[in-house]
């Protein structure tokens, strides 16, 4: 089974459609909603993790494409500006998914994009504004 985290962007006309239901029911995918930002008459954004076998993943992604939902990998929307980061570790205790980690031996900080769930908790915490999430 493969898993991936994607950002769905869908136009206002699709806001009232049960898209996740179809992904689960018709395409046999496991859907974990990480974050949702849906406002009526505006564009909706949904960050999900989907899992399933290769064939189901393909049909699910085709379904999204057909109905007009734009998809892109989550990692494209999150940027850690390494040059802005001072490795102070202020983000470490707040990050729920351990995307930010400290090497306790030398106290260096690194960011594991694939672990990030785009919760944005670190954004106001970082004194150097080194994290950027574009939603």
């Amino acid at each position: 089974m493969s898993k991936k985290r994607i950002v769905l962007t869908f136009p206002g006309r699709l806001v009232d459609q049960p898209i996740t239901y179809h992904l689960i029911k018709d395409h046999n995918l496991m859907v974990n909603i990480l974050r949702a930002n849906v406002t009526p008459k505006e564009e909706g954004r949904l960050v999900i993790e989907i899992g399933g076998n290769k064939k189901d993943m393909e049909s699910g992604m085709n379904y999204l494409k057909e109905i007009g939902v734009d998809t892109q990998p989550l990692t494209q929307d999150i940027r850690w500006h390494k040059d802005r980061c001072t490795e102070c570790t202020a983000c470490i205790s707040i990050c729920p998914s351990e995307a930010f980690v400290v090497n306790r031996k030398d106290m260096s900080v690194s960011f594991r994009k694939e672990k990030c769930i785009a919760c944005e908790l670190c954004i106001p915490i970082c004194p150097y504004r080194a994290v950027e999430v574009n939603f």
Binding site: T86, E87, C88, T89, A90, C91, I92, S93, I94, V102, R104, D106, M107, S108, V109, P124, I125, P127, Y128, R129
Partner: protein, 403 residues
């Protein structure tokens, strides 16, 4: 074994000085013993890189044609107000200053995106800065307003002057209340949700010379990527706090006032800093060399994170209300492990002072000394130490008498 600073300088000039960092010295002494290490090692370098609010810069902007007396008027650098109550074109910029139209904490918690610390970082980076000034006009300074851009390369002087830097130890901040609080120690989650600390511990300058036996007024230092000097004790200098047997204070204690040419510094070591809901400041990189004059001085530099204790303070009540309560003591090895125990609860820790950058500063200073690019100075006067009896005084509440 004793040696003098001038003997060390001779070795530095010959490229023969043995220099190690305050981190490296720990294992060296463990292996060789204090006596042998003191014979071999000339200098131990320290470093710290953290937010230091009592930081500032002053500038001489040069005279426009016709002249303007900004002194006594109003002036802004990138919309951040500067103090003008000095001579005609000298202005003073504080790290925590924010634009007049910044919404501050009106919508809580405020974002505090830009302020004095950021102006200093941008100036040092060589960026053009917008100057707006208004004045009342005089016979010799007729101009009443000016709007232009300034650049650090063009102005006469740009001097970083920090009245209090490099705190010797600092509190660990926690929050016992049931709401999130926004402090200068970062955002603190309710009910002991996290603990924030701010010191380079075993690499921190004043923790490696706890009684200020070598670090004094006139000491040449690494400052913001350039060269600076200690000019006085820092404000709130408080040498009389409780100390461990190794001499290390168990609470915030000594501080230093430092000065240096901003034109030689680098934005890598001076960073504009934001604390949500609190304000802006400047993160400063400081490195201080400790001359190994004798075994006693060497011994102080071998201090380890596990030997440095500090107080856990509740920033929801004890700190703002100035209550003396402490929730216990913890050492920096525990703090750096990622979790500590407070009142029986495991609490995640996070730093505000970068240990990784502190090490980089100590290494950089080591390199400068080894290459003969940095000579040590003899202090011209000592910083007040324990015997001075100086203690940190509170502000009394007194009725103001009507005249």
């Amino acid at each position: 074994m004793t040696r003098t600073i001038s003997e060390i300088n001779e070795k530095i000039k010959e490229g023969k000085a043995v220099v190690v960092t305050a981190e490296e010295i720990i294992d060296i002494v463990k292996e060789k013993g204090t006596k042998k290490a003191a014979c071999e090692i000339d200098v131990v370098t320290t470093g710290t890189f953290g937010p230091m609010c009592s930081s500032s810069a002053y500038f001489n902007l040069g005279h426009s044609k016709p002249r303007i007396k900004i002194g006594g008027g109003k002036a802004y650098l990138n919309n951040v107000p500067v103090y003008t109550g000095i001579a005609a074109v000298d202005v003073y910029l504080g790290a925590t200053a924010i634009p007049d139209d910044d919404p501050r904490n009106t919508v809580f918690p405020g974002e505090f995106k830009y302020g004095g610390g950021h102006v200093i970082e941008e100036l040092v980076a060589g960026k053009d800065i917008k100057l707006i000034a208004t004045a009342y006009g005089t016979d010799c300074y007729p101009r009443k307003s000016i709007e232009t851009t300034i650049n650090i390369k063009e102005i006469n002087e740009a001097v970083l002057f920090n009245p209090r830097n490099s705190y010797q130890n600092y509190n660990v901040a926690v929050n016992l209340s049931d709401r999130v609080i926004y402090t200068y120690m970062g955002t603190l989650q309710p009910k002991l949700g996290n603990a924030n600390y701010c010191s380079a511990g075993q690499l921190s300058p004043l923790l490696n010379d706890p009684y200020y036996k070598t670090i004094g007024i006139g000491t040449r230092i690494f400052m913001g990527g350039g060269i600076g000097y200690i000019v006085w004790n820092g404000t709130q200098h408080n040498p009389s706090v409780a100390r461990s047997e190794n001499g290390v204070p168990r609470a915030p204690a000594g501080t230093i006032a430092v000065i240096g040419d901003l034109k030689q510094m680098s934005p890598n070591w001076l960073r504009g800093t934001t604390f949500t809901g609190y304000g802006v400041t400047l993160t400063v990189g400081i490195g201080i060399p400790i001359p190994i004059l004798n075994e006693e001085i060497l011994k102080y530099t071998t201090v380890r994170d596990e030997d440095i204790f500090t107080q856990i303070i509740d920033y929801s009540d004890a700190y703002p209300q100035r209550k003396p309560d402490t929730l216990g003591e913890v050492n920096y090895a525990e703090l750096k492990s990622g979790k500590i125990n407070v009142k029986g609860k495991e609490v995640k820790t996070a730093g505000l002072s970068s240990y990784a950058k502190a090490r980089e500063i100590a290494e950089t200073l080591k390199g400068l000394i080894k290459r003969g690019d940095f000579l040590l100075t003899e202090p011209v006067a000592a910083l007040p130490s324990v015997e001075s009896g100086i203690a940190f005084k509170p502000m009394p509440s007194k009725p103001v008498k009507k005249k």
